[in-house]
Each structure stands twice: as C-alpha cells, then as structure tokens.
C-alpha cells in the first residue's frame, strides 16, 4: 500500500513540477514533498514493528507468590483498594479494572515480590479479578473474626474517654469529650471498619454491645508507676493520649501527672520493657535491672533474615537504626538504649537483644 501511495505522490510531484509556475510557494511545496518521500512514516506500523517499552513504563502489577509473606502492606498502600489478601486461604487477588498502575504497592512491598510489568493487561469485556496463590498463614490472634459484626458500635462502662478511638476512626463518626465524660457515635457515619476496636486500650468497644469483655478490672487501682527496668525510651509518653507522661532520657527522669492520667493503659501496651503498671509492684516481671542502664543489651539481627521492610527504623525512639538498604541491617551501637522496641515490631522476628 505504502509503495503504491508513494509512487502516486511521485507522479503527482512530477506533474506539478512540469507546470512550473512563478509562485514562490511552489518551491516550498515541492521541497516538502520531495523531503517527505525519503522519510519514514511518523507512525510505528504497529503490529509489524513491535512497541519497545521503556524500563520505567508502568503496565500491570504481577506477583511472585512464593516469596509473599502476606504482610498486607500492598493492600494498605493501594489507593483504590484493588488488592485483597486472604491470609487463611493463601490468596492474593487484584481487581485489574480498579488498579491505576501507580505502583504504590510495588514500592511498599518489603519482600520485593511485587513487580510492575511493562505490558498492560489484555483488554477485556468483563471486570477481571486475578487471583494468585501465596503461602497460607494463620490469622494473628484470630480474634478479629470473632466478634459478630452486627449491631451498632457500643462502648462499655470501662471506657476512660482517652479519645484514641475517635482518632482512629476514618469516618470521624466518634466523638469523645474527656471532661464531660462523653462518648458518642454517629451510627450513620460509622462504616463498621473496626479500626476503633483495635485501638481501644481498654477493650471497651464492640459491635452490638454485649460482647464487650469485662476486662480485668481488678488491678486498675493505684496510680501509674514505672519500675527500675525503665530505659527512658519515651514510647509511653508518645502513646499517652492525655499527655500525662514526661520522659527525659538525659536526666533519667520518668514522671507521670496523676491528675491528667486517665488510666487508659495505652502506655502499658507500648512499653517495650514491661516496666509500667497501675499501682506499682504488679507487672514488674523483668529481673530487677541495675539502677543505671549502661547498655546492658543491644539489638542484633540474625544473618539473612532481615527483609528490609524498615519497620524497626521507624519504631526506634533513638534513630539508632539507619534505613535498611538491600536487607543490610546496621545498628549505631552507641545510640542503642536497649529498649527492644525493634524486636516487637519486626514482622519476621529477625531481631533479638544480645548482651554486650
């Protein structure tokens, strides 16, 4: 076809040049035609000449299921909720029509088992959902499936009005006023995601009432106290919704303002050394530590176990762990205060405390 077209154009050009006119425009016209004859077409002649992809071209997401640890970071990172992970069934699914190829999941994947392929998915007439097999994993704690999701969100009497639930609510459906001792949920706004239930330090929240666990009310008496094992990491102060705790690492100072303390227990959950308790004595299970903590132990990582997810980097209160690149985990030993926060947060249990 092209050859025929080109021959036709050549004949036309020759005919035109035969009738030479005095108009200047003619020379430009002829020049353009002759110039274009030698050039390749601007289009690719696609099916014959294959399209070459750039290295960065974002086409579609693919997964290497064998390496997946079902951590769920990709599903959380996805802005369109296109990814679903069924840990119990061992299934990783992606809704192809929902995926916008932003590659947020690929960037977030700690195991680097997700990749962005150059080629887009094949066009289709139905909304495709692709499913991949990943290793099965028992759901953590298994408590999440337990509460029946029917009924409105309710709060038991054990509530201390800390307000953590209101902060966690993505729909802003919860209102908490500590002074007025007021807890309110706007059932119309509530999306029943359960984020507040996970966050509540007292376990007072549930869907449909009744289910609310009585919670070990017994040891709730007495003020918050801190045992000698404290390493002054400050995680408790950060967790406190009422800003009642003050920690100064240099001065080795831990102070609680008992008037502000609402006894929610959020700090107790956060303390990596288990030093905190209400009414003293109770929780001090740790062997009595020496008065000053001269780096009794520091964090270390088992060879080859680190997956480079950087969870510990973010958790470390002292910024003693520099960002992990290519799974090479380092520790700035002089900065480590031995709090063990990194041990708890590691998704693959690669970190342990070693004595020095």
């Amino acid at each position: 076809m092209i050859i025929v077209a080109k021959i036709a154009v050549i004949i036309a050009a020759l005919l035109l040049s035969a009738v030479v006119t005095a108009r200047l425009g003619f020379f430009k016209f002829g020049k353009t035609i002759l110039g274009s004859l030698g050039k390749k077409p601007a289009t690719l002649m696609y099916p014959v000449v294959p399209r070459e992809w750039e290295e960065r071209t974002r086409g579609s997401v693919s997964i290497d299921g064998d390496n997946c640890i079902a951590c769920g970071i990709c599903a959380n990172a996805c802005p369109t909720n296109a990814i679903d992970i069924d840990k119990a069934e061992g299934k990783w699914t992606i809704q192809r029509m929902q995926c916008i190829q932003c590659s947020a999941c690929v960037d977030g994947c700690p195991k680097k088992c997700l990749t962005m392929e150059n080629l887009y998915t094949i066009p289709d007439v139905v909304k495709v959902v692709d499913s991949f097999d990943i290793p099965k994993k028992a759901p953590k704690g298994a408590k999440k499936d337990a509460p029946a999701d029917d009924g409105d969100l309710t709060c038991a009497d054990s509530c201390v009005f800390c307000g953590l639930c209101a902060k966690a609510c993505p729909a802003d459906a919860i209102k908490v006023d500590r002074k007025a001792k007021l807890w309110e949920v706007n059932t119309e706004d509530c999306v029943k995601c359960g984020a507040c239930i996970d966050k509540c330090p007292k376990g007072s929240l549930s869907f449909g009432g009744a289910a609310a666990p009585a919670e070990d009310a017994g040891d709730d008496d007495g003020d918050l106290t801190c045992a000698d094992s404290c390493v002054f990491c400050g995680l408790c102060a950060k967790a406190c919704p009422a800003d009642a705790i003050e920690v100064d690492r240099k001065e080795k100072l831990w102070k609680v303002n008992t008037e502000d303390c609402i006894k929610c227990g959020a700090c107790i959950d956060k303390c990596p050394k288990g030093s905190l308790s209400f009414g003293g004595a109770a929780a001090d299970a740790e062997p009595a530590a020496p008065a000053e903590p001269p780096k009794k132990s520091i964090a270390s990582v088992k060879d080859g176990e680190c997956i480079g997810c950087n969870a510990c980097v973010n958790q470390c209160p002292e910024e003693a762990i520099p960002p992990v690149e290519e799974s090479e985990w380092k520790l700035e030993e002089e900065k480590c205060i031995g709090c063990g926060a990194c041990v708890d947060v590691c998704p693959v249990d690669a970190i342990s405390m070693k004595e020095v």
Binding site: R56, I100, K167
Partner: protein, 360 residues
C-alpha cells in the same frame, strides 16, 4: 430588535471534548449572551481526599486531569509538605520544575492541535500531535507514565532522573524546536488561520483584570501576570523567568502566547538541567498531618490553587483544589457576547477549557 433564538451548545459537541454546556442567546447570527452551566462530570475527588491516607491521595489528585496531571500532583504534594512543615531537597524541586515545564510543552502542543482541529485545519492538528508524541515518550522514559506520572510524593520525588537522561531530554527538545517552529509558523503566518483568529473575541486589558482571568488568557491581553514570577514554587527564581505577554487580546494573541511559552519552556528546561545540583530527591515525612497550607501553581492553563488541612491523623480534614478553567469562565462569557455563532467553538477553545479539572 431582531427575534431572539436560544441555541444549546454542548455538553456534547463535535469540536469540543470537554462537557461544558452553553445556552447561546442569538440575534440573527450574533451571540447576545451566553449562559454557561457545568456539572456533568463531578467526581467528588475532594471528599475522597478526606477518607484516604494523605500519601495515597497524591495518586488520586493527579487524576483530576490527564493533561496537567503533573501540576496537580505537585500542588497536592506541596500543600501537604507545607502542612507537615517539611522542606524538600533542592534536586527534587529542580526535577519538579523540569517535569512541570515538560508538561506545559505537552499541554500547549495538545491545545494547538485541538485549536487547529477547531478551525478545520486537520493536517496541522495531526502535526501538532505528532510532535507531542515525542514529548510523551520523554515522559514515559523518565517517569513511567505517558499522561499520569505518579512520580511526586509528599517529601520529594519517588524516583530520581539521572543527569544523562536529563541531558538527553534537552537534546531531544532542542531537536524538536525546528519542527515546532515549522508547525507554529502556520498558525501565525497562514492567511486563512489569521482570518479565523485575528480580531476575534477581543478581551481588553481592563476586562481581563476585572474578570480575574488567569494564564495565557490574561497574558494575551497584555497583563504581566504569572504565578511563576512569585517564586512560591519551583526554582523559577534562579532561571531568570519572564512571562510571555501579548497585547492584542484576541484569539491570535492567546495562541501566540502559548506558542512562545512552548519555546520558553524548552529554554527553562535547558537552564534548569544546567544548574541542577546532585543530592537526594526525597526526605522522610511524618505520618500524621497537622496544620494547614495553601499554595498556588502556574499550570499550563493558568493559576491553580491547592489547600490542605490536617487534623492530627493520617487523614486530611480538607483538601481544596481550584483550577484555572473555573476562573476563566467569566472571561469566556464576556468574549462570547457579540461574537458570531460560527466563532463560538474557537472562543470556547481559546481559554483551553478543562472541565474535568473544574468539577473534579
């Protein structure tokens, strides 16, 4: 007084892909009044910003518009960075400026093509878009996407662009200059194009200022107004930026402003690539947003406004975007009054309308 007729124009119209509806009140062939109405593609993106993690929101805000998507991503990131109190590295600021100017080239070439299509010059349209294709290839190579780039994130850039690639970008763009000149000369010197555009839809300097027009629309009326002059965003201060201004205020003037801006953007990219410092391209940002921040950007279509307000969680309390087309609609209505019915499509195109941006 002649009999008045009302002709509906849009939201579906052969020359205009954008769904704007105009009720044109005609006296014979002359438009007496134009009543605009929009609201055909509202998608509720601002509300969506409130129920999604702020870092994820960038990918959604970018998709407000397929043509000025880099600017939208930048605006969203910059407003969040302001609210977080984060300073981004200099190299990231340079890269954003370079990509934003590259986006301007691609947007203006697209518009020139649509304009040519609007006044019925089909081959000119084809050539404008052929050149634009090269610019899109540059985008694909450097960011991974042709029209939606997803390379901005709060705190900087997701990927670095190597200095070799930047150099290559400059070489390719300089090579395009001759081709762009050949095509744009047809706009400026072709007799039939001049007949369609010169003296059509005049917006005087006073009217443009009074109606708060922005972007090439206001610069075509002789007003030296460009957000890049303020130096709020990007590194334009270091690039000796001076906006392109034309005095006539008609369709031709607005076209010439855009043509000159294409060449100016190539120069700005060249200057920025010569000056770009080495270093990191991103910084870590806090996970929770508090405080609020507003920023203005000069998009290819004019001034755009971004506002982010945090509430101490990872969800934003409010995200507000105001786009240039929204502000240019009063100027458009002014231009339409007194125009011929046949000129209406060209006049609507001349403000470079992006209704998807306007409605979000």
């Amino acid at each position: 007084m002649a009999k008045r007729t009302i002709v509906p124009f849009g939201p579906q119209h052969p020359v205009l892909p954008e769904p704007i509806h105009l009720d044109l009140v005609l006296e014979d062939e002359t438009v007496v009044e134009a009543i605009p109405s929009i609201g055909y593609i509202h998608r509720g993106l601002e509300k969506l910003c409130e129920i999604k993690d702020f870092e994820q929101m960038v990918y959604v805000v970018e998709r407000i518009c397929g043509i000025c998507s880099f600017g939208h991503g930048w605006g969203a990131c910059a407003s969040m960075e302001g609210a977080l109190g984060v300073e981004i590295p200099e190299r990231a600021e340079y890269l954003r400026t370079i990509l934003h100017e590259l986006g301007r080239i691609h947007s203006h070439l697209l518009w020139l093509g649509l304009m040519a299509d609007g006044f019925g010059f089909e081959s000119l349209f084809n050539h404008c878009w052929r050149i634009r294709e090269t610019v899109l290839d540059l985008f694909e190579k450097n960011t991974g996407g042709r029209v939606v780039f997803s390379i901005c994130k709060p705190g900087g850039m997701r990927k670095d662009i190597s200095n070799e690639n930047l150099q290559e970008m400059v070489t390719v763009l300089n090579g395009l200059k001759a081709e762009i000149k050949e095509v744009t000369d047809a706009f400026i010197y072709d007799k039939s194009v001049q007949n369609r555009m010169t003296g059509v839809g005049v917006l005087t300097k006073e009217e443009a200022m009074e109606l708060c027009a922005v972007g090439p629309t206001v610069r075509g009326s002789g007003v030296r107004q460009d957000i890049r002059l303020t130096g709020d965003h990007g590194v334009y201060k270091e690039l000796d930026f001076e906006p392109c201004v034309e005095e006539a205020g008609d369709c031709m003037a607005r076209t010439v402003v855009r043509i000159r801006e294409v060449f100016q953007s190539i120069e700005l990219i060249e200057k920025a690539v010569a000056k770009i410092p080495d270093g990191p391209v991103d910084v870590k940002v806090p996970k929770k947003v508090e405080g609020e921040f507003a920023i203005r950007l000069e998009q290819p279509r004019g001034e755009a406004f971004y506002y982010a307000k945090g509430q101490g969680t990872k969800f934003l309390k409010r995200m507000r975007v105001r786009t240039p087309t929204n502000i240019n609609i009063p100027a458009l209505v002014k231009m339409l009054a007194g125009a011929d019915l046949a000129d209406v499509p060209i006049l609507v195109l001349t403000i470079d309308p992006c209704i998807s941006c306007t409605e979000r």
